[in-house]
């Protein structure tokens, strides 16, 4: 029995009582599937961390429940050790593969991509509507990430999707912790995450903020335009902060 088949059997047999670890594995696999759908050659460790952070912190937009991840504030943005462990696990199962690996000083850099058996797993998993909904959500967020990753003015020291670090830095919850320089502080999610939730709520009902002479139905945002507005806000904040620091 190959690793991927074993993994598939585990997932299908335990779908009803799925634990956090398996849920997380699935979601990371969906992330790679979405990246593959966008023709990205690979996803770096940094890229995976930042994309999953955005997928998770934006989940109230879709009111979707994802696996719980503990992110902390580190220099290169939100970081969850659970993600790295899961990446290693998925590599061991041949669901994703390491494309490149380098060590520089005390840091290790790796790029990953989904394998054929990983793609096949995603097909099987998303036969379940709940899983398919998660995949669709992740695909939507990744499409917006794909839009913004090449934006003018993002940090040139990073490549590809890693450039969204600059936008993640502006994400309200993370930004508040960053400005306090509270390194290693756990980033709150769910009900405790008031700042990002406040922004999402504001966008979801933004037409109500308009003066009465506006056609409010015209300015009502849908899921995609909420995400775009959210990212545009992060981008504007980034440009503004960059200008101040010049």
């Amino acid at each position: 029995m190959t690793n991927s088949v074993r993994y598939s059997n585990i997932r299908i047999s335990e779908i009803g009582v799925i634990n956090e670890s398996l849920k997380r594995s699935n979601e990371i696999l969906y992330l790679f599937s979405a990246a593959n759908g966008l023709n990205w050659i690979s996803l770096s460790k940094i890229g995976v961390q930042k994309c999953l952070y955005l997928v998770e912190i934006l989940s109230p937009v879709k009111e979707i429940i994802l696996s719980f991840l503990n992110f902390i504030y580190l220099h290169k943005g939100p970081y969850s050790k659970d993600i790295q462990n899961t990446l290693d696990y998925l590599v061991s199962l041949d669901a994703i593969e390491v494309v490149s690996f380098t060590i520089s000083g005390s840091s290790a850099y790796a790029d990953y991509r989904i394998t054929e058996s990983g793609i096949s797993l995603v097909k099987d998993l998303t036969l379940y509507p709940v899983e398919n909904e998660k995949l669709l959500w992740i695909q939507t967020v990744m499409k917006v990430v794909d839009v913004y990753k090449g934006s003018y003015g993002l940090n040139e020291q990073y490549q590809g999707v890693d450039k969204i670090i600059d936008l993640v830095y502006q994400e309200p919850t993370f930004k508040e912790i960053r400005l306090r320089k509270a390194k290693r502080e756990i980033i709150p999610f769910g009900a405790e995450n008031k700042l990002t939730k406040e922004l999402i709520n504001f966008l979801q009902t933004i037409e109500q903020e308009l003066p009465d002479n506006f056609d409010k139905t015209r300015y009502k945002l849908n899921l995609e335009t909420i995400l775009l507005s959210f990212f545009e806000y992060l981008y504007v904040e980034h440009l503004s902060e960059s200008q101040k620091n010049e």
């Binding site: 934006s151 003018y152 966008l203 806000y233």
Partner: protein, 145 residues
């Protein structure tokens, strides 16, 4: 959270505006817009064009008969760098960046013809006239730069 800033983004975002007007896929529009903005800011001398523009329309006439993707063709960037945009240069682009073959459309050489074409063909048309960029959605001028 700066509510006024967010409100401004939502009310004035060119992408959201075009999406509202046309019903086009907003994410595809945003992708196109940001790539184009990126291209402009990197290569055009008058790149400080502010936030309010949607698409660029620029190509020399002799090249506009050819199929090309403005994001992939170096020649397009070179034309921009060389300042070879003038009022006779027009092209029509879809939201994926692919050009519509102008040879089949006939030459459009002024603002009014561009507006008419946009209305007749139900296309977003961007007409470049030196440093001015005119954008039409269904014949309606949206933004001037």
């Amino acid at each position: 959270m700066n509510k006024a800033e967010i409100l401004t983004i939502v009310m004035n975002s060119p992408v959201l505006e075009v999406a509202r007007e046309t019903g086009f896929d907003s994410i595809e529009l945003a992708k196109f817009f940001l790539k184009l903005e990126n291209l402009l800011k990197r290569h055009i001398p008058y790149a400080e064009i502010g936030d309010k523009f949607y698409f660029l329309l620029a190509l020399t006439v002799e090249e506009s008969d050819e199929e090309m993707n403005i994001f992939e063709e170096d020649i397009f960037v070179q034309k921009i760098k060389d300042g070879l945009l003038d009022k006779d240069n027009i092209l029509f682009i879809n939201s994926n960046g692919k050009l519509v073959n102008q040879g089949q459309q006939g030459l459009i050489s002024d603002y009014v013809q561009a507006a008419d074409f946009s209305r007749d063909k139900n296309l977003i048309v961007i007409f470049v006239e030196y440093t001015s960029v005119h954008i039409f959605v269904n014949g309606t001028p949206m933004v001037y730069i």
